[in-house]
Subunit: 208 residues, 2 copies
DNA sequence: CCGCGTAGGCGTACAGCGTACATCTACGAG
DNA sequence: CTCGTAGATGTACGCTGTACGCCTACGCGG
């Protein structure tokens, strides 16, 4: 056949990630990625259908970096390790956080990580709907924590404003906001994960 | 002084929300909101500095709808009730989910809800950093759950694709994906919240 | 009652976005 | 060498957010 392809999905994803890492998510543009690749803008469309597909490509690329080998240890340690690995990889490319939320469902690379998570949960004794709920609860917590951290700094002014609220109208909040700013993200995540893991009991159990 | 203002923040927020509810978040545009208000596009800029401020306005408006009166019952019931109220209000306007994540920090209306949450946690015995972590873990879970539900349906094809994966490479995933589609969002949220609440123990405690 | 200054309302314009379309061109197969 | 195909690209369009400047309606001091 004619002219061979000059770009691979991996090369496109790498260039896209370079743009995001260097200039931030708002700089992600069909034009900037094409320039990063040394091509004309429209050439990119020979490889991706539209911007959404480009975003999905970079998300898949990032998720592919996650080590999905089964961790050792007790099941809670395994789960914590797998969540930590994913979190570390994503935090190395903060600009991809909003993209991850939108496109993780269409990322083939996520399947290995999910399988490893489910393997740990299965070994713990989770079955059927319990296993699904356990998995999704852990993922919701992880995504929420990543997004909170991503959007938090922009509104550091917000937390500061809360600390300055009248202690009369919001006695507890004003007092808590000050303490909140002193907890490092890693510690906050670790302790939050401990809470979720402590609540996960194979075989279920009602609390309400 | 001269000409009085003809628009209130509430009226602007209502019009914006109407656009989002009727035509979806992508339809949210300075032009569409101005048209909804019966004004010229640029007139809107007499009331908001830019699009971001308009988005913050609608988020604050939605959060103001949440009943923040202190719920009755044991502290876990109170927390579940407060999370449920917020979730119900946001789910009534699904298009605002991404906006909520980005702008909740600059929403004055959120303070009353936070104060109510912290009140329940304080009554339970949480103090200092423990209280901060408890609060943030609950919020991260809630936001993650809302976002997952919001972005999930778009990629229903994704879950379907997982169910069709080779049971050889991904034995547990393929089996789990089928069960996953049968759990209603409300049940998933309720059971997930039960997990988190079960893990919340005042006074701390290590698990790892 | 009048005009005057202020701020509301708006029309125009521009840069930047995603991308449809038509064209040119480099290549592998015959 | 030639030809068909698909890669590469230039141009163009509709849409976005918003800067700028003009016009005008209004409440107040005279």
């Amino acid at each position: 056949m004619p002219r061979p392809r000059s770009l691979t999905p991996a090369r496109i994803a790498t260039a896209t990630l370079a743009v995001i890492d260097r200039d931030g998510l708002p700089a992600l543009t069909m034009r900037t990625v094409a320039r990063e690749l040394g091509m004309a803008t429209m050439s990119l469309y020979r490889y991706v259908a539209d911007r959404d597909e480009l975003e999905a490509l970079v998300v898949d690329h990032v998720l592919a970096e996650v080590d999905t080998s089964q961790p050792a240890g007790e099941w809670r340690e395994q789960v914590a390790e797998l969540l930590g690995r994913l979190r570390d990889v994503v935090r190395a490319h903060p600009g991809t956080v909003p993209l991850l939320v939108r496109h993780r469902h269409s990322a083939p690379s996520s399947t290995r990580w999910i399988e490893a998570m489910l393997t740990a949960l299965t070994a713990a004794g989770f079955r059927g709907a319990d296993r699904v709920v356990a998995q999704r609860t852990l993922v919701s917590f992880l995504l929420g924590a990543l997004e909170s951290e991503y959007h938090g700094p922009l509104a550091g002014a917000g937390t500061a404003a809360m600390a300055g609220l009248s202690t009369a109208d919001y006695p507890i909040l004003a007092q808590t906001a000050a303490a909140a700013a002193r907890i490092p993200p890693d510690e906050e995540f670790r302790r939050g994960l401990e809470i979720v893991l402590r609540g996960l009991v194979p075989g279920g159990g009602e609390v309400l």
